[in-house]
Amino acid sequence: MLQPVSVGLKLGFLIILYLFLIWVAASTLFDLRRGVRGVRGGGGGGGGRTVVAGEATSIHETVDPTALLGDGNFEPRLVVEHATGHEPGVAYDLMEPVTLGRGDVELKLEDPFASTRHATITRQGRTLVLADLGSTNGTYLNGEPVTGPQPLHDGDRIRIGDSEFTYLQ
């Protein structure tokens, strides 16, 4: 007697499940299409939050993909992790070129291992570039000594002597 109800409920279960899955898949597809249009439409507009074509992971790009989406959110800054004479968490604006060192420079380090003029961070359009100024003890980007000018990515760590900073944009 209840057999048809049971079969109906089972099929109902499957139908609801598939309608739900189709709906989610369709929305995902819609999302993707809108993203593609966003890039084709001159890269502007607030609509498409997209990853720029090129490398699949987009993690290796020099230019941050969000940089194409307008000026609003671009605030390059250097946050103090720990450095003598600086409050941890304080952020320094990097829109203007900044030199780091022990001497008379924009960002003064009270670090025995820092040179007088140790390193600079300059802005080139939307890319921030870190360069060592021939310091005695070197500048480290994410644990690696900096040899030539290095583009900075959001979240990079910069270490000079015992002082450590995080770059955010």
Partner: protein, 436 residues
């Protein structure tokens, strides 16, 4: 439409599913329709609604589909456990679900800025390794099916690898974020870039650890899970497919060596290759479970036999036909009851969940978030592959829980932490940019 409204509407099918499922199981069991299934559906909807309101307040920009997909998986699990073990276990599972949601909320509140996790990465890594080794402590670990997977404390049994997987992914994301440039560089030897040994060292150590886990814990499934996440994160961090290639080769060689030298792994492989061999079928811990799972799935056909129709016990006795139906073998019971369509529906749900995780990784703006989202999504993907592939005889069978579906508290709790992290990443990534 706003993302959160999408999420709210997406929860309705989940509640309908759980009501239909419970009603079908109830009819099958008591042979009469009762309102209890509707009450279960209502409670489930209430819980999801609570979680939805919490997300609406705390993470307004997070991906709208991640949570409803998890809800659908959870309702699949609740219905199947109610169908397999009856109301008591289903209630226990539902309680774990409630605790999981509380932990989910706690994770979102505590780690609102999840990048703080990076500061504790070595602590998290040490904790994860300790968790993984705990089942080997005499008197604490539970030995079952040739592997040390669980620890037994008074009152609860606890599966450490589930929490360890989240910890390991956090560590790997943080570690590779700092060292990816160094790994991608290196000297060229014979046309290949060989990364400096000091940066490759920790990765080799992790390969060794995965192999050691295989020997010490005796668990192929978990080590495959960790190793898959490691390779995915390394690939995304360095964009070098050669790492993946060498990683797979190294794992293959290691596994082959262990399979030929460790008896219980060899036994698993024999069970996988010849489940219907009479000697293996009748051997203790032999292929009995796997062979009967094949029959259960075959009996499901296209649309399944209906809820409660798959035979779990030999008729007329209490001897199990499919041992561990609510944990290891839940996928075969789902296929038996709901057929190919039900099973594929479940797999597509996982697929969409994983794709939303990768989407969050694509949108994330900093490397740590990208790597973390990739790692967390991959670990779920590999876990589903390991257990479903094991049940369906694609790979040798190992018992890892089917995420959100299989019976077990620690799995649910750990996976809710994972979902909370994914939503946090997604929320940060999708915050709207002010117009130029």
């Amino acid at each position: 439409m706003r993302a959160r409204n999408w999420e709210l509407i997406s929860l309705v099918p989940a509640a309908l599913l759980v009501s239909a499922g419970f009603a079908a199981v109830y009819i099958q069991r008591a042979n009469q329709l009762e309102t209890v299934s509707l009450i279960y559906g209502a409670i489930f909807l209430g819980l999801c609604l609570g979680a939805h309101i919490f997300i609406r307040i705390t993470l307004p920009h997070a991906d709208p589909f991640i949570f409803p997909l998890v809800a659908v998986l959870a309702c699949y699990g609740l219905v199947m456990i109610y169908r397999i073990d009856g109301a008591t276990e289903a209630r226990v599972q539902a309680q774990w679900f409630v605790l999981g949601l509380l932990l989910f909320a706690a994770t979102i509140v505590w780690f609102r800025d999840y990048r703080r996790l990076e500061h504790y990465r070595y602590l998290i890594m040490t904790g994860s390794v300790v968790l993984l080794l705990l089942p080997r402590v005499p008197g604490l670990g539970v030995y079952s099916g040739g592997a040390y997977l669980a620890i037994h404390l008074p009152g609860i049994t606890f599966q450490p690898p589930e929490f360890a997987k989240v910890g390991v992914v956090i560590f790997l994301s943080s570690y590779l974020r700092d060292h990816r440039q160094a790994l991608a560089s290196g000297r060229r030897i014979l046309g290949y870039r060989i990364p400096p040994l000091k940066h490759l060292g920790p990765l080799l150590a992790l390969w060794g650890a995965a192999m050691l886990a295989l020997v010490v814990i005796g668990d192929i499934g978990s080590s495959l899970m960790f190793y898959g996440a490691l390779l995915a994160i390394v690939y995304v961090a360095t964009d070098r497919i050669s790492f993946v290639f060498f990683g797979v080769v190294a794992f293959g060689v290691g596994s082959w060596f262990l399979a030929t030298h460790i008896p219980h792994i060899d036994a698993r492989i024999q069970d996988w290759l010849h489940p219907f061999n009479p000697t293996l079928y009748t051997a203790p811990l032999g292929s009995y479970q796997l062979a009967n799972a094949q029959f259960a799935m075959a009996a499901g056909g296209l649309f399944g036999q209906g809820f409660g129709q798959t035979l779990l016990y030999i008729p007329g006795t209490t001897n199990a036909l499919i041992p561990f139906p609510s944990t290891d073998m839940v996928f075969s019971v789902i296929t038996g009851d709901l057929g190919l369509f039900g099973a594929v529906g479940l797999l597509v749900t996982y697929l969409l969940f994983i794709s939303r995780g990768f989407k969050a990784a694509m949108l994330a703006r900093d490397s740590f978030s990208k790597l973390l989202a990739v790692g967390l999504s991959t670990v779920i993907a590999v876990q589903v592959f390991v257990i479903v592939g094991g049940v369906a005889r694609v790979i040798p069978f190992t018992g890892v829980p089917l995420p959100f579906v299989a019976y077990g508290g620690s799995s649910i709790l750990a996976n809710f932490v994972l979902v909370a992290l994914l939503l946090l990443i997604s929320d940060r990534a999708r915050q709207p940019q002010p117009a130029p």
